[in-house]
Amino acid sequence: MTTPVPKTATAQARRAADPILEIKNLSVDYGFGDDPTHVLQDVSLTLNRGEVLGLAGESGCGKSTLAYGATRLLPPPGVIRGGEVIFTGRDGIKTDILGLSDSDLRSARWRDFAIVFQGAMNSLNPVHRVGTQLMDAIKAHDKKASKKDSRDRAAHVLELVGINADRLQAYPHQLSGGMRQRVMIAMALALEPELLIMDEPTTALDVVMQRQILEEITDLRDRLGFSVIFITHDVSLLVEVADRIAIMYAGEIVEAADAKDAYLRPRHPYTDGLLNSFPPLRGPRRELVGIPGSPPDMAQLPEGCRFADRCPFVMDICRVEDPVLAHTALKASEPDRLVACHLHDGKASDMPATLAKVANP
């Protein structure tokens, strides 16, 4: 069995129940016409201060839609149909991101929450120096910053992500993919945001670079104290980096649990399937089983549980009633875990053995 990287004590202590971002009943449609696709329906998620929350799931399951919907970054034809996104600043002031005016939203972005986009390394303008682009970002939000201040600040954030400050003079093509990705992370951190949303920040990179960047992010998180929403389809990566994992399937969260718990003792058949889809690096050999089939068409969702067609433990009720995200059958031992599955309606003893593993005391 792989043992996840031990969390530092500071990280543990910081994870008091102090929500920084509460997504409540967020609903998102794609399409302006009479027949839009309801990609998210009443999805709720809470991120605590200083926490790294991993958002995992197959392609097209709504991970990015959730993150971009919460920050109002969805491109047309995305429409937010309801819900609240409460952001709580360090000063304790709560704001509803969905209720902000354009100019307030613009200034909140980057300062309160920053985003590292999918394939972010291509977001750098090839004809400007990296330093100019970093300083641009700083100046755009802090009009009073002098040229020297913003240059110092740019050099500082660049060193934070492990790049020598003399690279401020470099053009993007002179940097490797990993370095460009770090520059984007540095840019996101330039204004000391309290929340960092990272959308598959390491997908285009090799594993060595992935590891370095992830270590830097966790390290920076401990030093600067921001919170992270980390979107990826690589669950093994999440287990390493995240404190808590939310698994998404077809536009809903099916399981939310502590990263270690989710990895060692999955409770939802989909989580179990995801975990069985990649090999453990250490420990006994185990057969790799994928999840047969593919996610449902979001425009024509089946009745009942969305995972029913692919679920090895499907029951009659799954075809009729959509399960609600609730406590598991083993809630006494794990009060913080939530699973949307009918298997957990009954007693733990009735459950398939793979989904009812109990932690060793």
Binding site: P19, L74, P76, L301
Partner: protein, 379 residues
Amino acid sequence: MTVETNHLEPQELPRPDAPGVKRKGKRSAVGKPQAGTKFVFLRNAKAITGMAILGFFVLIAIIGPWIAPYDPDAFSDQLVQPPSWEHWLGTTHLGQDVMSQLLVGTRYVMVVGFTAGIIATILAILVGVTAGYLGGWSDEGLSLLSNIFLVLPALPLIIIIAGQLDNAGMFIIAAVISLTAWAWGARVLRAQTMSHRKRDYVEASRANGESTWRIVLAEILPNLTAIIASSFVATVTFAILTQVTLAFIGVTSPTDWNWGTVLYWAQGNQALARGAWWWFIPAGLCIAAVGVALALINFGIDEFVNPRLRSTGKYARVLRKRGITARVGFTPIDRGMTHGGVGASEPGGASPSSGPLTPEPPGDTVDVTSVPTKVTAKK
């Protein structure tokens, strides 16, 4: 010009057309054909308005000479009469009927405009795409050629050529205009072709061994549709204005009726000083209306060809009604229709508000996700 917009390639934003978020309407599955995806262009309000105005003038161009109440050349004894039931748009200094002149002249304007537009666009595609795709010496030569034509002062050149030709007919005028009008389009198409040539999909086709003809015609040209269309529309506008100018300054034969000829006679006979507004205002309005129509079509083409703008353009009315402005970076919020679950009470005890009240033992995991409220019976 509306050239650049279709090259926004948002890579960093999630794509609504990604697998799993397919926008296949439920209705299409039931068998109802997707209502006229072919004619989406015609559902765009700007395009419809433009097409309607232009269509009106094209119709006049076809039937104008037949429905004209008088012979435009025929003199009468009613000199410089204001509009009346007899002469809807008044008469000229020789008693000719202004409306008949306009009706007959529309054909000339349209034929010259569209002929010049078509010839110039074909020239632009041939020169621009060839230069852009082949590169090297062919590019140097063709670029030099288009650069020369770009810096040639178009109107004086046309005046000289047209002045030399005795009794230049409308096709000759159209040819002369297109000779000076193609270079701009060629320049733009060359640049765009060069950019596409280096993209992965073209390299992949080359690696697959597709022929140059196929790559240019089937891979690259469809990507240039927006530019070609808008360049065509712009050239037609230029050609119409130019030939009206030529007729107005008297370079072309003043006996071939077109809107410019009407203005030529009006100017030559002090229509303004005489207060004979009916003589020149209708012709001016016709020119302006055609210009507006072509500009509207250009906007429409842009919204149609750019798939990202297309759905916005297609649903412009719905969006207005719902009060939604579709912009990148500020997702619209529309709480109009409630989903069943919003506002329902939260089952389970893990609401986030209970967090601070119940201190968690250190080291243990802290609450996670507030329980979403969901309707169980969902369609």
